[in-house]
Symmetry: C2
Subunit: 212 residues, 2 copies
DNA sequence: TGTACATCAGTGAACGCGCGTTCACTGATGTAC
DNA sequence: TGTACATCAGTGAACGCGCGTTCACTGATGTAC
């Protein structure tokens, strides 16, 4: 999962238990789901006693909140990677952002649900709020590049933000839930074909698309 | 919540414990969330001993599955009500369907999440699969009315189904999660204005919209 | 209508389990002199 | 460099709690005659 460690490993006792706990929490989340997630399970996976996490996180909520914040950072990285490989054209950039959104959800369904749908994170946490806002702002910037209008002052542009966000988020959530399996033709396409269709769907949500 | 009872109440022992348990389960779900849902809590709410539910549901999964199936029936009713009050024009009908989708999610967020995002239901259950398919088919029919083409045989029409479903589902899920609070102008509108904007957003997803 | 019996919905005590939390402890690391 | 002490990350036993599950039971309802 995450690879930031072994730097300080064996430096002090465990080395970097905080990072190890976050890694273990992600595995626990993926294998057990948010519903069956337990601090004791995380400690066991990290190979420490069940009382050890208390030195780094006050409780499960604190650990999950930190994990969600890291999730947003990786979420943004996934989108940037997609955009880097795409044409610099604003619409291609927006579609790439959306494909990155879906990529991340499919690759990390449990983490995605934790970030967007769970009550088990502390939304007033500063790191989480900052990371979450950064993700939102990336979308706002892409829409601004297309509409040439600042969504924070122009309701029409903000409506585009909302519409694109909704369609991308809806695709991601339905795909995670396995609901697209019902749509057999989509499942039978190869990667390129499927992405072309998803890009087309994503771009429908911005009105500038239609008026061009 | 549900009002089907007192019919047979006091008829045999409790009367209709099965229905009472489903009512109690919905309250438990709303107050505790899927994550903290417990059979004992449901029994307590229904005013029976914690072992009583076993006579009607094998376990929490069985109870939640039955509740999800009922949820889909009410989900469809909510959409039909919206459509009944709308113009018979196919696009107005589609927008009404979408508004009903959002209505239901906002009025029953926990139940909505149980239906669409939870691992705690048994998806191979016949009643649940039937109810869920009926909801999907309603959307398929509305798209067919607009495109004049059967989505089950025409991939272009099915893509419209997917796109409309995604945008409506995304709106619903983001609104439940409180993510639209960031979009302040939307929050300051009255009911009619907000619904006009949501309808506009929903109709963007169908390509027939743009080509007309 | 009356009695005797069968059925079965709901009871309540008991169980084992995993959970979060507490707390006295151990022992490795860091620091003062 | 060496010793003595402080710090603090991690240990492991113990706790109380709510959970699902089991099971012998009670007693109301239904049925046979």
């Amino acid at each position: 999962m995450r690879k930031t460690k072994t730097q300080t490993r064996t430096a002090y006792h465990h080395g970097d238990l905080r990072a190890a706990l976050l890694d273990a929490a992600e595995i626990e989340l993926t294998k057990k789901g948010v519903e069956a997630f337990s601090l004791r399970g995380v400690a066991k996976r990290a190979g420490v006693s069940h009382a050890a996490p208390a030195h780094h996180f006050s409780d499960a909520r604190g650990l999950l909140t930190a994990l969600a914040a890291i999730g947003y950072e990786r979420f943004i990285e996934t989108q940037k990677r997609r955009q880097h490989d795409a044409s610099p054209d604003p619409k291609a950039q927006l579609a790439a952002l959306g494909l990155g959104y879906v990529d991340f959800a499919m690759a990390n369904p449990a983490l995605f649900r934790l970030m967007f749908s769970s009550e088990k994170t502390n939304k007033t946490n500063e790191a989480l709020a900052t990371a979450s806002s950064a993700a939102f702002d990336k979308l706002v910037v892409e829409i601004q590049n297309i509409t040439k209008s600042d969504p924070y002052t122009d309701p029409i542009a903000m409506t585009d933000v909302m519409a694109v966000w909704a369609i991308v988020h809806g695709l991601a959530d339905l795909m995670i839930a396995g609901r697209t399996r019902r749509i057999t033709f989509l499942e039978n396409l190869n990667k390129e074909e499927r992405e072309a269709i998803l890009s087309d769907i994503i771009l429908r949500a911005s009105t500038v698309q239609a008026s061009e």
